[in-house]
Symmetry: none
Subunit: 201 residues, 4 copies
DNA sequence: TATGAATGAGTTTTCATTCAT
DNA sequence: AATGAATGAAAACTCATTCAT
């Protein structure tokens, strides 16, 4: 058989990545075997190792692809000339929509990386932290401009904001919160309403 | 007396549990070996299996011991006749103090159970949820009494509140947030300030 | 508590042996644990080791007790002045009655010792062989006296005779043959009828 | 070609099975380790698990391969238009020749499966029983035709016949009976002579 | 005699990774 | 690029036996 062209090769790589998302979401990273990924992708066992150095690298790739998109989104939001509350809404919106659009992928990223700081997330801590820092910077500027009170540190506020969102996604993932389509948009508003507006009457 | 007294036996069991906390915190549950626990406790390998059916059961025990204390604390707080904001402060306070008092134990519970819903936490989801539900009930009553706005659902507010705290602890655990002694008390106030008071000026 | 008298001590030992029979019959020698025996006997774990050097010795004891009785029975039968056919009937009868009287014990002896020549029976091969030899001697004398044909060697005839009986017991044990009370006496006659009379019309 | 050819793969599998026979015969199934099989076969540890799900499955495979051949042989014998006595001779002959041809394999099958009804044979009881039933059917037809007396039930006669043969093989295996080459053919005749002709003069 | 806690050696199985084709 | 056979390290768990009381 003639050598496939680069385009086709890239497609196989993608095929494996997409299969990995489904398998990781279904079985968990540690519970699945490399052969499960190959089977799901419909390719030979060894091909996974042709495109990736290790099982870890598959997850690394998935995480980095997505997280860089998130970081870009946050940076873009930050660059806009809108209120901080708007910015936080846009970020929450982006994350929630990411989940709505590809639940498996976000489940994998949150469950296997972001909330697995002791195992997998460890090596991505710096990358994950970038998101927190970007959010903190938004808060900091809002405090400087007087839009936000300065009763809490920006770093703390960023953690509270991100923690709230991630907890909500986790709630959906493990069916602790109702996750019907309409709940997604509601959640965006709720997060901002809670963090910015507060619960107090 | 025909046998070692129960007191001594219980002490060995405790010895193993305490050693496990240190080992799990240091190496992670999945990365450590049962022999690491035995070595840390200074007992023979087999004794771990004399007191616990499996490595899992050791972690189960640690989690349940602590989580039941947390649930009791929340229930007690809820029973008091104080403002909801006070209650949330008391809960945040309890959790933060738990961390201050035994960082290893809380690290293990959060990293290996609470945030590992896909592996270990799966079997404890119902138990974990109890905490969310208790907090939600506090919010619900506060909304009914007019102390809290009813712009968000109680379940959502509970997740945001708990998610914010856990994220802060995670920040301390992985050194993403300053965790000096004075930061602990500050954090208690910050959480409530953020969730109840909101960031808006 | 005052020291038990020898009588009582012997009783405890018996208690353990009898419990072991039930446990070995139910779970098999290799599958059961020493603690199962102790539990079944209602004594402490360590007491088994007070009376027996090892788990093996418990089975050894059970086997030797019974097998010596069998050897004595065969010798006694052989000593009587009756036809060889009568002798073989008496031996078959003794073995079948042993099974009828204590199915668990005979199951253990056959399944765990006699038919486990590769593991446990290995060390008792000489003892087991004594039975074959005694039977062979009976056959040999019968051939010499003209009661039996000398078309087969005595050793062979003994193996065929014993093998037939043991196979029948095995059939009962594993429910491959009907084992109702009336089948026991029938079997005694069948064995002799087959081995001595032959199947040919 | 993209992969080792199937022929080679099958050969490795066979290599492992043949090595297992030698190891099981020499050390016994329970006493040997999987690594012993791999070493004997000259392959890597893991390859055993590439071809077989477990150590048990290796023995399962050996047993079923051989036992199905035995069942086929019995069925073929039964299909021939010869006297029942001839049929029983042919069966005894087949079993004895099986032993002569591959002593290790037959030792393993008898010692580890057929006579280990409490452990391994348990799961093969139905399969083992098929042999008894086929033999019983032969006896039954012979009784119907008048070739055999009907003094014993066919099921019983089958057990006596098979038990006698197996006991003889066991005698060879454990050197309780002389197992010189000439003894093999003699044994075939002896079994039939004993079971069909009887010992009585 | 009696108890049961304490010991630790031993083995199956899993599965990521490598490699010959 | 593609295949899947081959490799072997790693660890949980079991349980017979010992021993302090």
């Amino acid at each position: 058989m003639a050598t496939r062209n680069p385009q086709q090769a890239a497609e196989k790589r993608r095929l494996i990545l997409d299969a990995a998302v489904r398998v990781f979401a279904r079985q968990g990273f540690h519970t699945c075997r490399v052969s499960d990924i190959a089977d799901e992708a419909g390719v030979a066992y060894g091909l996974v190792y042709h495109y990736f150095r290790s099982k870890d690298e598959v997850l690394d790739t998935l995480f980095l692809e997505r997280w860089d998109i998130l970081l870009d989104a946050i940076r873009e939001v930050d660059g806009q000339d809108v209120a901080a509350r708007e910015k936080l809404y846009a970020i929450a919106s982006f994350i929630v929509d990411s989940y709505r659009h590809d639940q498996d992928l976000m489940k994998v990223i949150i469950v296997e990386v972001t909330r697995a700081a002791n195992s997998f997330g460890r090596s991505h801590l710096a990358k994950i932290r970038e998101a927190y820092d970007l959010i903190a910077a938004i808060v900091e500027k809002a405090q400087a401009s007087g839009e936000f009170k300065d009763t809490v540190t920006p770093a703390f506020a960023a953690m509270a904001f991100y923690g709230a969102i991630e907890q909500v996604l986790t709630g959906w993932i493990f069916e602790l919160l109702p996750g019907a389509p309409e709940d997604f948009d509601q959640a965006k508003a709720f997060v901002v309403e809670t963090i910015c507006g507060g619960l107090d009457a």
